[in-house]
Amino acid sequence: MTRILGVLGLLVVLYTALIASDPNAGKPDNLISVANLQGRYGVVTLGAALVIIVGGIDLSLGAVVGCAAVLFGILMNDGVHPYAAVPLVILFGALVGFTNGLLITRLKVQPFLVTLCGMFIFRGVAQLLAQPMRGTVGMTSVIEAHREFNDPLRTLRYLLIGKAPTDGELLFPAQFILLIILAGVVGFFLHRTAYGRYWYAIGHSELAAKYAGVNVNRQRVSVYVVCSALGSLGGILLFLDAPSLQSNNAGYTWELYAILGAVLGGCSLRGGEGTAVGMVLGAMVLPVLENLVNFRGDKSDVIPVVIGLTLLFGAIVDELIRQRSRVHR
């Protein structure tokens, strides 16, 4: 419980500040737009958080998001139907995770190193993929090339993003709903099934888990697969929501945002800690903070400072709450 008090408080403060900043900020359409962004961040954060729980880290996640988004666009551009492209892209993500997992568990290369290399590689792969499109993919250009994808793509966007098929107006926070559903699934596995126990055990002590008969390598690989698959789903969402994407910066630094969300939500980078609820809350922080600086009309130059200090403040308060609760429980 106390693990999420801090982030909960931070969110309350941020939302209060947001609503106070401008009469329009608290209106449903703005809150929906924030929630939608939170949903997308959240989906990726879930993946990052699971990897962190088993004591790993995934720096390639942002690049995978970008690469998946580009791949999604390119596949459809090459005539693959949107409904077929979605599972293909997720399969791509799963394969990436599988490779990461194998390198980490079989060849025993440090996760930080494997995934840092992955970050370069998949950023590059995205660029290579997008070469025929001059580095830019977007829904409009896909539809221009394949008129017949107009309806399915708009339906997909309606379902996954919540934007009106007609003019792209945001109607409901579909991405946030998706996040809640996925967090439910992740939470079920994490908190209710044997797998979750194994992940926590591995994160805290790989040796103890191994001696207790847990197939550590297999579990680790699965978690990396899930992580990258969620990342590629994030890429699909990014493609559907963004007007267009540049292959050399799509998903840039998302790995850091995702890790940040996970850590704010109570995951420890030492592994073995974290809850599904915390992940969702942690992922909600950055989008509302960004929306807040947009609404306050902060100068571009102060924005990073505001974001950095707010997060630091949140982290400190969170830690203090945790320490108090440890003493007084």
């Binding site: 900020a25 977007g138 409009t140 963004a242 267009s244 910066n249 840039y252 306050r296 009309g297």
Partner: protein, 341 residues
């Protein structure tokens, strides 16, 4: 004290968003600030910190629409794919595109140069520097951006002397190990513009290319982003090659201007960021008061800055100015001083 509250106080509010963070845009911001003061409007000028991220840009524009600003100017990142969103926005708020256009959106007007034509101007500077042909390399931050593509193609078309030039793959006549493409009399190293991705990486990229062409005759290095010419000069200097190469630039980096004054750079083709900012705000402020007369009808002409300057010329229907570097720099400093930058 929050700027957003001033809306309620009745003051007109204009917002401008760029496509990245750069000194170029700080100059534009100066122009915008000046116009805002003159027109007595509130200005929110946002340099996009997530460079060339169209989704982040739309997020910002979106929150402005929700705040009820009276006019928005956008440096469009991807015209085609941003059209749907911008069309929707243009229906709600007066919208101007600047620097990079999206013409199917119902925007009120476009403020900017024609990048392809500006690229051709760069090509002409190269031809002037190496009239008998030679070896060229092009450096750019991003080969894929809309303005980058147009600029590069302009240069190459001018060098090749034909439209949509693709060049013929070739090995360098003097050093056959060097692969590239031939555009007319000009050999382009590696056959493509060298992309560095960010200013930090510009020097190593330029340095290596200089290292490869060291010793070859008739060299011209072309820097198409503002930070490229200084990086080229610095690397050439550190390899002792500055005297052996010609440099042609783009945009008004101070070091590029200094290089022109010192005779190290042939010339640079400049846009007019100060005007972009100024005219965007002027036009939107007027529009908010029901006055359409300030909307810009024609592309803003590019200018070619060289050491000695030259008379105005009409090229492809555009009246192009050829200012002297000293005059140009003085004017720029005045502009910036006028808003305390």
């Amino acid at each position: 004290s929050l700027p957003a509250c001033s809306n309620k106080s009745g003051k007109i509010k204009i917002a401008v968003v760029t496509n990245c963070t750069a000194e170029f845009w700080s100059i534009a911001e100066a122009g915008a600030t000046k116009a805002a003061k003159e027109a007595d409007v509130d200005l929110q000028f946002r340099q996009l910190e997530k460079d060339f991220d169209a989704a982040a840009q739309m997020q910002i524009v979106d929150s402005w629409v929700k705040q009820g600003v009276n006019g928005i100017a956008v440096s469009v990142i991807d015209p085609k794919n941003q059209t749907e969103d911008l069309t929707r926005i243009a229906k709600k708020v007066p919208l101007i595109t600047m620097d990079n256009d999206a013409d199917q959106t119902g925007r009120l007007c476009y403020i900017g140069i024609n990048n392809y034509e500006a690229g051709k101007a760069v090509g002409r500077l190269v031809k002037k520097a190496l009239p008998k042909g030679g070896t060229v390399a092009i450096f750019i931050g991003d080969t894929k951006s809309a303005n980058g593509t147009a600029r590069t193609q302009g240069v190459l078309d001018e060098l090749a002397g034909q439209k949509d030039a693709t060049g013929t793959p070739a090995n360098h006549p003097v050093n056959p190990k060097l692969a590239g493409k031939q555009f007319g009399q000009y050999f382009l190293v590696d056959g493509e513009a060298k992309q560095d991705g960010s200013p930090t990486n510009a020097s190593p990229v330029a340095g290596a290319v200089l290292g490869r062409v060291q010793g070859l005759p008739d060299l011209c290095m072309i820097g198409l982003y503002a930070y490229n010419p200084p990086a080229i000069m610095s690397e050439a200097r550190s390899r002792g090659m500055l005297k052996d190469i010609k440099v042609v630039g783009f945009d008004e980096n101070w070091l590029t201007l200094k290089g022109i004054a010192d005779g190290e750079v042939i010339g640079t083709v400049v846009q007019d960021p100060f005007m972009y900012g100024y005219k965007s705000v002027e036009a939107l402020a007027a529009k908010a008061r029901g006055d359409d007369s300030k909307l810009v009808k024609d592309p803003i002409p590019y200018r070619v800055v060289t050491k000695d300057g030259g008379p105005d010329e009409t090229i492809n229907g555009l009246l192009v100015k050829f200012p002297k570097v000293a005059d140009f720099e003085a004017k720029l400093r005045d502009d910036l001083k006028s808003v305390g930058k």
